[in-house]
Symmetry: C2
Subunit: 374 residues, 2 copies
C-alpha cells in the first residue's frame, strides 16, 4: 500500500477501491507545488480552483502553477470561510463562476481548503451539467483524514447538517502535510477528533499509539502527523471500499456525529467547529455505550482523557434553558441515520468495534444531563 | 416487450435496461387509480407527492389513495406551475416539505406533473440525504414520451437551462394516458415536438406513421396516443440503455434542443413552452443539415410541414434587435453539449440517422436569418 518517491521526502499512497470509480490518496510534503502530483487528472481546457478567502491567498496561485500543464485556463473562486456558509447561496457562487467563465462539462474542479470547501466543491462537481470531474486538495487535518475521502458531498439546510448532497467520488485526493503547519491550533484539535474516532471503532492499536503521541501531534511533529493521516485514510478507505453508500458498515464512521450534529445545529453552525462537536459527541456516545453495558467505565475515562488532551471540549453545551435533553433529542431525530423517527446511535461495543443501534430516550437524557455544562 | 393485463384496457410495458438501475415504464389508462400499478415500489413509512398547483387538485388525492397500501403517511407539496419556476428556490420548497414532515432516507418521492415537476423531483430525490427513491407519474405528453424517462434531472440557472442537476434514475415510470384528456391544446402540441423528434433521428417508419396520424394525435385519438407514447419510450429506452450518461449516442436525443434552448433562454424561460422551442429548433437544425449537404430540401420541407401541422411554431423568434444571430450564437455557446466554446449541433444525416458536429458560425447565422420572423 506504500510506495516511496525517488525524491528526498516520502510519498505515501492509499487506494480507494470502488471499481471504475477507484482513486488514490497521495500523502506527502510539498505536493501542491509539484505538477507531477496531478499527472493522472484528465486534461481539459478549463479548471476551476474552489477555495476560501483564508486558504486561497496562501495556496491558490501555487496550485494554479502546478495545474498549468494540464489545463489551458485555470480559474479561481474564493468562497467566504466557515461552516455557516455551507449553504445553497455559497454553492451558487461556484455555479456562477463556472458559467461566467464558460466552463464546459470537461472542466475539472479542484477543492482547495477544509471540509466545507471540499463538501461544497464535490456537490458542485456532482451537479454542474450533471457531473464534472473533481480533485480534493484538503488543507486541514480534518479534511485530510476524513471529509475529503469517500465521496460524501453536500450542503447544510437550516433544519439539519448535510441534508442536501450526493455520493460523488473525486478523481484524486492530495494531502499536502506542509499545509498543516499554518493551521490554527483550534482547527488542528478539531481534526484530531476525527483521527481519534478511528481508534475506538476500528483499531485499538491506533488508540494506544494516539495515547502515546497526542502531544506530539498537537506540536505538529511531521512524522506523527504523516502516520496519523495515513492510518486514518487506510481505515476510511477500507470502510468506504466495503460500503460506499452507507447501507451498513460506513455508518460506524459517524461515531460521535449524532450528538455532534445536534450540538452544531443547536448552537448554530460555526459556533463550535465540526471536530469540536464530534469530540464532545464521542464522549456522550461513550457514556451511552457504558450505560448500555457495552464498554466499561475505564474505557470512557480513557477516551475522555484523550479527547481532552487533544484540546477538545468534553462537556456538552446547553442548547435549551428549560428542556436541554429534549432539545438534543429533537435535533437528533432529524439526523440522516434516523429511521421512522428512531435515532440510530453509533456506539462502542468493546474498544475497536462499533455498532449502530437505538437507545431508550430516558437513558439518552440521563447521559446528556450527566455530561452537560452546569 | 408488451404484456396485456387481464382487465379491459391494455397495459403496455417498456423496460429501461441499466443493470441494477433498470426499471419499467408502464403505459395504459387509469393507472393512477390502481394500487397495483405501484406494487414493486419499495414500501416505507413516508411518501411525498411532488406536484404543481394545476395538476395537484385533479390527481394528487387519487394518487395518494393508490399509494396508501405502500406508505403509512403520504404527504403532498404543490409547486407553482411553469418553466420559470424550475429554480433553486422552488426546489428548496421540496426539501423544506420533506424536513418539515421528518421524512427519512427511505422516503419515496412521486413526481406528479409535467417535465418541470419531474426534473425537479428527480433532482430533489438525487440530493435529499444524498439520495432517496423516486417514481415518475408524468401527466403531460412531453413528460410521458421524453423527460420522465432516462434519469436526467435538474434545474435551470439564469445563464442556461438544466445547468444544475444529476443523472438519477427513477424506480418506475407510470404513463397514465387518461391524464392527456385534460391537457391544454398548446401543451399537447409541445409534447408532439418530442414525439416527432424520434422519427428523423431513429425511425423513418415512425415519421411516416406520424405524417399519417398527426391530426388524429391532436384530436387525442386514444389508440394513436398509446402508440406514439409507446414507440417514443421504446426508442428512448434503446438509446438510454446504450448511453446513460450521454457520452455519445444519447446526445442525438437533443435534436432541435441546441437552437431550442437558445430560444427559451433568450425569450425568458416560460415564454415559449419547451416543446415549442424544440419544434422550431428542429426546423433550424434541419435547415442547417441541408446547408451542410446532409439532407435534401424535400426533407426539410416535409419535417417543417409536420411540425406546423402539430401546432408548433416554425419561424425563429427575434432575440436581439441589432444582432439577432449573434445573440443565438452566444446563448448556444453555453449549451451543455458545447466543448471549449465550440457549439455541437445534432444534425440529420439522411432521415432516420443523427450526427453530432460543429458548423461554421457564418452558416449558422445564415440559417437563423433565413428562418427568423421578420
Amino acid at each position: 500500500m506504500l510506495t516511496a518517491t525517488p525524491s528526498h521526502h516520502p510519498l505515501e499512497r492509499v487506494e480507494i477501491s470502488l471499481g471504475d470509480r477507484s482513486y488514490p490518496i497521495l500523502i506527502g510534503r510539498g505536493l501542491i507545488d509539484e505538477a507531477g502530483t496531478f499527472e493522472d487528472v484528465p486534461s481539459s481546457s478549463d479548471a476551476m480552483i474552489v477555495t476560501n478567502t483564508t486558504v486561497g491567498p496562501i495556496y491558490a496561485e501555487r496550485l494554479a502553477r502546478s495545474l498549468a500543464p494540464r489545463h489551458r485556463r485555470v480559474h479561481t473562486v474564493a468562497l467566504p470561510d466557515g461552516e455557516g456558509y455551507k449553504t445553497w447561496e455559497t454553492l451558487n457562487q461556484i455555479f456562477d463562476a463556472l458559467l461566467a467563465q464558460g466552463c464546459d462539462r470537461k472542466t475539472v474542479l479542484y477543492a482547495l481548503g477544509g471540509g466545507v470547501v471540499g463538501d461544497m466543491t464535490g456537490f458542485a462537481a456532482a451537479s454542474y451539467m450533471r457531473g464534472v470531474p473533481f480533485v480534493q486538495v484538503p488543507t486541514t487535518l480534518l479534511a485530510q483524514v476524513d471529509s475529503s475521502v469517500g465521496g460524501k458531498t453536500g450542503i447544510n439546510h437550516p433544519a439539519g447538517k448535510n441534508m442536501i448532497g450526493a455520493f460523488y467520488q473525486p478523481r484524486l485526493v492530495v494531502c499536502d502535510l506542509d499545509t498543516l503547519a499554518t493551521l490554527p491550533e483550534r482547527e488542528l484539535s478539531a481534526g484530531l477528533a476525527e483521527v481519534i474516532k478511528y481508534g475506538p471503532i476500528a483499531d485499538v492499536g491506533f488508540l494506544d499509539w494516539l495515547d502515546a503521541r497526542i502531544e506530539g501531534l498537537r506540536q505538529r511533529d511531521p512524522e506523527a502527523l504523516a502516520h496519523a493521516v495515513r492510518r486514518s485514510c487506510e481505515i476510511k478507505a477500507e470502510v468506504v471500499g466495503r460500503d460506499e453508500r452507507e447501507s451498513g458498515l460506513r455508518a460506524t464512521l459517524n461515531f460521535g456525529h449524532t450528538f455532534g450534529h445536534a450540538i452544531e445545529a443547536g448552537l448554530g453552525y460555526g459556533t463550535w467547529l465540526h471536530g469540536e462537536a464530534v469530540g464532545c459527541g464521542m464522549v456522550l456516545a461513550a457514556h451511552l455505550s457504558a450505560r448500555l453495558g457495552l464498554v466499561d467505565a475505564a474505557f470512557v475515562a480513557r477516551l475522555t482523557n484523550l479527547i481532552e488532551r487533544a484540546g477538545l471540549p468534553v462537556r456538552a453545551p446547553q442548547l435549551d434553558a428549560t428542556d436541554n435533553s429534549g432539545r438534543y433529542l429533537a435535533l437528533m431525530r432529524v439526523d440522516k441515520k434516523a429511521e421512522a423517527g428512531e435515532i440510530r446511535f453509533v456506539l462502542i461495543d468493546g474498544a475497536g468495534r462499533a455498532v449502530v443501534r437505538s437507545a431508550p430516550d430516558a437513558l439518552v437524557r440521563e447521559v446528556i444531563d450527566a455530561c452537560s455544562c452546569a
